[in-house]
């Protein structure tokens, strides 16, 4: 053999590996967490806590490569501050749901913010990952370059995997320059007309960057070269929103702290749940009783409602999408839409391929993944 086992000399990493080996030997479960800002997301967390935060720090950052490599326990806020110093950013605007959120949690949850429809999701920016699998093997997939088709793209599958395949230890991300110019416009439109308008604009060469519709008001963000943004503002009309006010609005939306999410959280105590519906952007408004916020050019629709899970899921499926129970006191319906054959079988087999003893995050994605 040409290879010798990798020697790992990083104490934080050694501790993680030993912990996984012990859990595997003891047939116990581990619940991977960073800042615990997304414990509400997915099915109920189970298992002994496995804290990734000792594995922190930026491993390499070369702004001209548009790539940063970060250890999973690094606070997202630290990473964003370092990128901002060089005029760069995580273009997919991951939600910051609390001060302690980590980069590993951001990737594992796979949540993207307002700009997702324009720039892509978390997974589109993941270039490489070092993973600790259920056999306590440290594996690297992908790399630090934009184009890489060596082997299966395992690193991107980890985005949104909810930790069920292993512990993300380090991740390389594509970063982008912050837009040179932005502008925010407001339009009074009902939901059906807003959806139509967003899709029509999407077919024109406009610097669209984010959109939000709620209670009869469509808010649109443009971003790009100064000349392109100025020309689009002229062409689109609407009411210009002052930049400071616009910044607060988009940050509130991104971090789920704005009025809509505040009232959706308040409604949880009266038996409502907050659903995230991912639909074809052209799907017409759904006839679901509840408060609805539309993002991503129509592709993401939040619904705060008391309707039964089956009603919401059926409506999403009929429109060509799926519904996630994002926030709710009762998670018994399962956070994620059930899978059909053969996708359910492939999920079980993939879980077994990465974590044969079912050590990590049991049930967090789907209850039936482990034997």
């Amino acid at each position: 053999m040409s290879d010798s086992p990798a020697t790992v000399d990083d104490p934080a990493l050694c501790a993680l590996i030993e912990r996984v080996q012990r859990a595997r030997a003891a047939r116990s479960n581990l619940c991977i967490h960073g800042g615990n800002t997304k414990a509400f997301y997915g099915n109920e967390p189970r298992g002994e806590p496995l804290d990734t935060r000792a594995l922190a720090g930026i491993s390499s950052y070369e702004p001209t490569e548009l790539v940063v490599t970060v250890r999973a326990g690094t606070p997202l806020a630290d990473l964003e501050a370092v990128l901002a110093e060089k005029g760069q950013c995580l273009a997919f605007e991951p939600p910051r749901l609390g001060p302690g959120g980590t980069v590993g949690g951001m990737v594992a949850a796979g949540l993207s913010g307002p700009s997702r429809a324009a720039v892509g999701a978390v997974r589109d920016h993941v270039l490489g990952v070092t993973l600790l699998n259920g056999k306590a093997e440290l594996l690297s997939f992908g790399g630090q370059v934009m184009k890489n088709v060596a082997g299966y793209d395992v690193s991107r599958v980890l985005a949104g995997s909810m930790g069920v395949l292993g512990v993300i230890c380090e991740v390389s991300l594509k970063v982008l320059p912050r837009p040179a110019a932005t502008a925010t416009l407001r339009f009074e439109l009902d939901q059906a007309r807003a959806l139509r308008q967003l899709n029509e604009w999407g077919g024109r060469p406009l610097p669209l960057h984010a959109s939000a519709w709620w209670q009869g008001m469509l808010v649109l963000r443009l971003a790009g070269a100064g000349a392109a943004v100025r020309a689009a503002v002229q062409a689109l009309g609407g009411e210009a929103v002052p930049e400071d006010q616009a910044g607060d609005f988009w940050n509130g939306l991104r971090d789920q702290s704005d009025e809509y999410f505040v009232s959706a959280r308040a409604a949880l105590d009266s038996g409502a749940a907050l659903w995230r519906l991912s639909l074809p952007p052209t799907a017409p408004p759904l006839a679901l009783a509840g408060d609805c916020l539309v993002e991503w050019g129509g592709g993401q629709r939040w619904v705060s409602t008391r309707l039964p899970a089956a009603t919401v899921r059926d409506a999403a499926a009929a429109a060509g999408g799926h519904a996630t129970l994002y926030l709710g006191h009762d998670r018994s319906a399962g956070a994620f839409a059930p899978l059909k054959s053969p996708l359910d079988r492939i999920h079980r087999e993939l879980k077994r391929a990465f974590d044969p003893d079912g050590v990590f995050n049991p049930g967090r994605l789907y209850p039936g993944l482990c034997p």
């Binding site: 040409s2 290879d3 990798a6 790992v8 990083d10 930026i58 491993s59 001209t64 490569e65 790539v67 997702r116 892509g120 997974r123 589109d124 070092t130 093997e137 690297s140 997939f141 790399g143 630090q144 370059v145 934009m146 184009k147 890489n148 088709v149 060596a150 082997g151 299966y152 793209d153 395992v154 991107r156 599958v157 985005a159 995997s161 320059p177 912050r178 139509r196 899709n199 029509e200 999407g202 077919g203 060469p205 790009g224 100064g226 392109a228 020309a231 639909l279 074809p280 592709g299 060509g320 999408g321 799926h322 996630t324 899978l339 053969p342 492939i346 087999e349 993939l350 391929a353 994605l365």
Partner: protein
């Protein structure tokens, strides 16, 4: 031929392969019309290789289904008999991904060539897997839309092949790879069960299996239908052609453009030997004295392009460009690009044969890599011309050789492997967009540890437990790596002393 009675002549033969061929033919004949099954040697010869002609193999037989029901039936029959299945699109791949299996069925999907729907409002197209890449953009042009990924072979390559390879192109720094432009694929599992990955929405429930299937080189499922994203055609595109008297200055100029916050629509480099080769072929007026030429493109609204071209010119001249020319109109822009797009045929003109490599390295390592290649030219006694997707670090060295000379072919293979394996410790990868296929199996031993390779096999088995879809590609067996004998280069969290640390 045409009836079940028409058994292969070789069926009477007693070799195990001939017996197997007769057995598989008998199983498939009831499932497909006679004209859709090829098994005579003279009929299967055209399928013996793809764009990588150095490797050839005859399949047991070739099946040419026309409907999804036929695809499913062939897969079910092959699964029952445990026959390997190699899906094939246009056969333009450059890494031997569609090389037949000597005991397998080649499943040609050439007849799946219809555009099923184009929708302006949703900006999507649903196309069958055999539709050519460029045909999608041509069909979408009246809507003011196009399909962004544009591999150089786009006039011939099929979308199904693009999905298998996660193909890129010259505009992918700004517009993304196939993965970023595909919403959903439909196809069949190895067992012949219909399956869809992704959806018409921006994400699907559960694990992101679409990300795994795109680029899996036909090893996880057989794809028959693809929903692609279409994007608005930019109103205007203009290109700068800049000359440099030093490769390192050209490399630095690329970094400076990115550092200035510009994401060009295209950013390509050619070295001096390549420039000479393409100029002789297309007569585009390239600067033959330059050590390197950069093509730098801006697209968008006229105002946006003017602003960006101005910023690009500032950066390029600040980086020491010796000559700069901006395309005045679309004809001149296409002329600038004509040489770059014809790098391969131009190389064919100056050498009997050439082998195209496809590694990716961090952009800042470009000059180091080109200097290393110059030393390899001496070492292996062969010439090499270079084109480079400078924007995303993807290098295409074209090694020039004569395949009629077995020693040259051997030296060429060593030269190629040396380039790939030099890329890995520089922080790069052995294949940027052409795929591993059969060609880069050995180099995968250098990039991945035994545990990583075993994890990839486990992924394959999760989709295809009997390992029947395109077996033997992409992931090298332990024994092959042991024989190859080169060290796996450590990466990831393990120490990386030559990389500057933050």
């Amino acid at each position: 031929m045409g009836s079940n009675a028409a058994l292969p002549a070789s069926a009477a033969a007693t070799t195990p392969r001939a017996q197997r061929q007769a057995e598989v033919l008998a199983a498939l004949q009831p499932l497909l019309p006679a004209h859709a099954l090829l098994w005579r040697s003279e009929d299967t010869v055209p399928y013996e290789c793809d764009g990588l002609t150095a490797y050839r193999e005859q399949p047991l037989l070739v099946a040419l289904p026309e409907t999804e029901a036929e695809v499913a039936a062939v897969l079910r029959a092959c699964h029952a008999l445990r026959v390997p299945v190699v899906a094939r699109g246009a056969g333009t791949g450059l890494s031997g991904g569609a090389l037949p299996h000597t005991l397998g069925v080649t499943l040609s999907l050439a007849k799946f060539n219809k555009i099923l729907s184009l929708d302006k409002l949703s900006r999507t197209a649903v196309v069958q897997c055999g539709v050519r890449n460029l045909a999608i953009s041509e069909a979408a042009a009246p809507l003011g839309l196009y399909y962004a990924p544009d591999p150089s072979s786009q006039i011939a390559c099929s979308i199904g092949g693009n999905v298998a390879e996660n193909s890129g192109g010259v505009h992918c720094l700004k517009y993304g790879l196939t993965l970023h432009n595909v919403l959903r694929v439909r196809g069949f599992s190895a067992e012949g069960e219909a399956v869809e990955f992704g959806s018409e929405a921006l994400d699907a429930a559960g694990l992101d299996l679409l990300a795994l299937v795109v680029g899996s080189e036909g090893m996880l499922a057989v794809i028959t239908e693809v929903t692609v994203k279409l994007v608005p055609k930019p109103q205007l595109a203009r290109c700068i052609m800049a000359s440099f008297d030093d490769i390192r200055k050209a490399g630095d100029a690329v970094a400076q453009i990115i550092a200035a916050g510009i994401i060009p629509a295209g950013l390509e480099m050619m070295d001096k030997p390549m420039t000479a080769a393409v100029e002789g072929f297309v007569h585009a007026g390239y600067d033959l004295d330059a050590e390197a030429i950069l093509l730098c493109e801006s697209d968008g609204t006229p105002e946006e392009v003017e602003e960006e071209i101005g910023r690009m010119l500032d950066v390029l001249s600040g980086s020491g460009a010796t000559r700069m020319e901006v395309s005045k109109d679309e004809a001149q822009r296409l002329k600038f690009w004509s040489g770059r797009k014809n790098a391969f045929p131009a190389s064919g003109r100056i050498s009997p044969d050439y082998m195209c490599m496809d590694s990716t390295i961090p952009r800042r390592r470009l000059a180091d890599m080109l200097l290393a290649i110059q030393q390899m030219e001496q070492k292996y006694g062969l010439r090499c011309a270079n084109v480079f997707h400078a924007g995303d670090g993807n290098l295409h060295p074209l090694i020039l050789f004569d395949a009629n000379d077995p020693d040259q072919l051997h030296r060429c293979e060593l030269f190629g492997a040396d380039i790939l394996e030099t890329s890995v410790p520089l922080g790069g990868t052995v294949t940027g967009e052409h795929g591993v296929g059969i060609e880069k199996l050995s180099s995968m031993c250098v990039q991945f540890s035994p545990e990583e390779r075993e994890q990839m096999f486990a992924v394959k088995r999760a989709f295809d437990s009997a390992e029947l879809l395109n077996p033997g590609k992409v992931i090298p067996l332990l024994s092959r790596c042991a024989e190859y004998g080169k060290m796996h280069v450590k990466k990831g969290l393990l120490p990386f002393p030559e990389l500057p640390r933050f």
